[in-house]
C-alpha cells in the first residue's frame, strides 16, 4: 500500500496545532521509522492516519494508493487494510479475546470464517508469538501486563493481515526477548506480504534492526526535520534529540 501524507496540518478540538505542514510518502513495501521527542506529535500522526475524530485536519491530504481517505471513517480505513498497534491498548471486561478477534476478522471477509479454521489460525499465531493459549479465553487485554498487551497487538496484526502497519512505540513495555519475537514475526509477515508498508514510531534503533528498514526520519514540533537511514537512528540514540538545540545554545554562549 502506498501512503502519501501531503502538507498535513492537524489541530485538536481545543485549537492546539500539533502536526504542522507534515509531509511523508511511504511507497509500497517500504519501512519508514519516525523518531522524535515526547509530545512532538508522533501518536497524533498515527491516530490521524486512522481518522481519529479527536483531531481535525485543517489542510493537506492523506492518499492511499492515490486516493484521498480523509472522508473515510476509522472502521472503513481499517477495513482498507490500515492497522495501528497502539502505544497503550485498552482492555474490555467480559468480551473475550477470541470473540473480539473472530469479530474483527469477519468484518473484512465476504464469507465468515468457520470456527475450526479460525482456531487453527489463532493457535498458530499464538505459537509464533510465544503466547499462552489460556489468554485467549480471558477478557480482551484484561489483567494483561504491558508486554502481553503489546504482544496481543501483534497477534491481531497477524490475523487481520494489514497492507499498511503503524507501530506506535511497540518496543516500550516489551522485554528484549519479547521484542525480538514480535519484531521477527513482523519481519516474517513482511516477507509473506511484500507489498505491505510500515511506519515504525520508536525511540530506539533496536526494533529497527529486525526490519527491512528504508528510511529514518527525525520529527520535531509536528514536522519531519531530518531524513536518513539506520545511522541517523543510532546517532539519535547516542546524542539525543536535543543536540541541535544544545549545539545552538553552545554557540550562543561563546
Amino acid at each position: 500500500m502506498k501512503i502519501e501524507i501531503k502538507n498535513l496540518t492537524v489541530k485538536t478540538k481545543d485549537e492546539k496545532e500539533i502536526l504542522k505542514n507534515f509531509s511523508l510518502t511511504i511507497s509500497e513495501g517500504e519501512v519508514h521509522a519516525i523518531m522524535g521527542p515526547n509530545g512532538t506529535g508522533k501518536s497524533t500522526l498515527a491516530k490521524v492516519l486512522l481518522g481519529d475524530s479527536a483531531y481535525e485536519v485543517i489542510s493537506g491530504d492523506i492518499l492511499v494508493d492515490g486516493t484521498s481517505i480523509l472522508d473515510k471513517t476509522t472502521d472503513e480505513r481499517a477495513r482498507m487494510g490500515i492497522f495501528l498497534a497502539f502505544q497503550s491498548p485498552i482492555s474490555i471486561e467480559g468480551v473475550s479475546n477470541t470473540e473480539f478477534l473472530k469479530t474483527a476478522m469477519n468484518v473484512r471477509r465476504e464469507e465468515k470464517i468457520g470456527l475450526y479454521p479460525f482456531l487453527q489460525t489463532m493457535n498458530q499465531a499464538l505459537k509464533d508469538l510465544n503466547m499462552d493459549e489460556a489468554m485467549m479465553h480471558r477478557s480482551l487485554n484484561q489483567d494483561f501486563s504491558g508486554g502481553e498487551r503489546k504482544k496481543n497487538e501483534i497477534l491481531q496484526l497477524k490475523l487481520l493481515e494489514p497492507s499498511f502497519i503503524i507501530l506506535d512505540e511497540l518496543d516500550s513495555g516489551l522485554d528484549v526477548d519479547s521484542l525480538r519475537v514480535c519484531a521477527t514475526n513482523i519481519a516474517n509477515y513482511l516477507k509473506d506480504h511484500p507489498k505491505t508498508s510500515v511506519l515504525v514510531i520508536t525511540h530506539y534503533p533496536r526494533i529497527l534492526s529486525y526490519l527491512p528498514l528504508n528510511y529514518v526520519h527525525r520529527m520535531n514540533e509536528g514536522a519531519i526535520v531530518e531524513t536518513g537511514d539506520m545511522e541517523l537512528a543510532k546517532k539519535i540514540e547516542k546524542e539525543g534529540y536535543l543536540r541541535d538545540n544544545v549545539l545552538r545554545e553552545d554557540v550562543n554562549h561563546e
Binding site: K47, L50, D52, S53, A54, T73, T74, D75, A78, R79, F83, L84, F86, P89, I90, I92, E93, G94, V95, F100, T103, A104, V107, R108, S139, Q156, L160
Partner: protein, 245 residues
C-alpha cells in the same frame, strides 16, 4: 437447579436446595438460584444463613420491587433490570458476611433505585457495582453505605455508573455514613458516555459503530457476571442497538 418465576399472574418454581414461601427466600445450603420477576409489583426478602455461599441471578423485567437481604453468609448477586424501580436494603449480620452485587439496568423511562447497605457487625464486606444505561428519561441512583462505630474492619465499596444516551439529566447520589476509622471504603460515580478512546480502539480493528457499541455495552452491563448460556440468551438480546450519539 433452582428457579423461580414471579409474574402478575402467579408463581412458577422448580426448587431443590432453596426454601421459598410467602415472599421469602432462604438459603440454608450452598445453592444457585435463578429468579425472574416480570410485570410484578411487591416485595421480596432473601436470607443467606451462616457459612452458606449463595449465588442469585435476578432478572427484573418491568417490575417495581423492594428487596430486603439479610446476609450471614456469602451472596453473589447478579441482577439485570429493564426499567426496574425499587428499594434494596442489605444488611450484613454476621462476621465474614459478604455481598457482591453486580447490577445492570436499561431504562427508557424515569426510574429511581435506592440501595442501602448496612454493616451491622465488624469484618463484613460489601462490593456493589451498579451500571445503568439510560436511553430516555431520567435515572436516579441513591446509594447509602452505613458502617456504625462498633463495626471495625469492614470493606464497603461502591461503583456506580450511568451511561446517558438520552437528553434528560441522570443523577447519582452517594452517601457513605462511616463512623469507624478502620474501614476500607471507596465510592466512584460517573455519569456520561463511553470514552472516545474505547470506541476508537475497536473501530480501528474494522468494527462499525453499532458493533463497537454492542461489545462495549455487553462489557459494561454483563462483564463481571458469570452467567449460564441460558441466562446469556435471555439477557443479551436486550442490549440496545446504538448508532451515532
Amino acid at each position: 437447579m433452582n428457579k423461580i418465576i414471579i409474574t402478575n399472574r402467579g408463581v412458577e418454581q422448580e426448587l431443590d436446595s432453596v426454601l421459598f414461601s410467602e415472599n421469602k427466600i432462604i438459603f440454608n445450603k450452598d445453592a444457585r438460584l435463578s429468579l425472574s420477576l416480570e410485570n410484578y409489583e411487591g416485595s421480596l426478602s432473601i436470607e443467606v444463613q451462616e457459612e452458606i455461599s449463595a449465588e442469585v441471578v435476578l432478572f427484573l423485567n418491568n417490575s417495581k420491587v423492594d428487596f430486603t437481604y439479610n446476609i450471614k453468609g456469602d451472596l453473589t448477586l447478579s441482577s439485570f433490570g429493564l426499567n426496574y424501580q425499587g428499594k434494596i436494603s442489605i444488611s450484613l449480620e454476621k462476621e465474614q458476611a459478604k455481598i457482591t452485587l453486580y447490577s445492570a439496568s436499561i431504562n427508557d423511562q424515569d426510574r429511581k433505585v435506592v440501595t442501602k447497605i448496612k454493616h451491622v457487625v465488624p469484618e463484613t464486606i460489601s462490593e456493589l457495582v451498579q451500571h445503568v444505561v439510560s436511553l430516555k428519561g431520567s435515572t436516579t441512583l441513591e446509594v447509602e453505605g452505613i458502617v456504625p462505630k462498633s463495626s471495625s474492619q469492614c470493606v464497603c465499596k461502591q461503583d456506580n455508573k450511568i451511561l446517558n444516551f438520552g437528553t434528560s439529566d441522570c443523577t447519582i447520589l452517594p452517601k457513605l455514613l462511616i463512623d469507624n476509622y478502620d474501614v476500607e471504603a471507596a465510592h466512584s460515580a460517573y455519569v456520561g458516555k463511553f470514552s472516545e478512546d474505547e470506541l476508537f480502539y475497536l473501530q480501528s480493528r474494522g468494527l462499525d459503530e453499532a458493533t463497537c457499541y454492542y461489545l462495549l455495552l455487553k462489557s459494561y452491563l454483563f462483564g463481571k457476571m458469570s452467567l449460564t448460556d441460558e441466562e446469556k440468551e435471555l439477557f443479551y438480546p436486550h442490549i440496545p442497538m446504538i448508532k451515532e450519539v
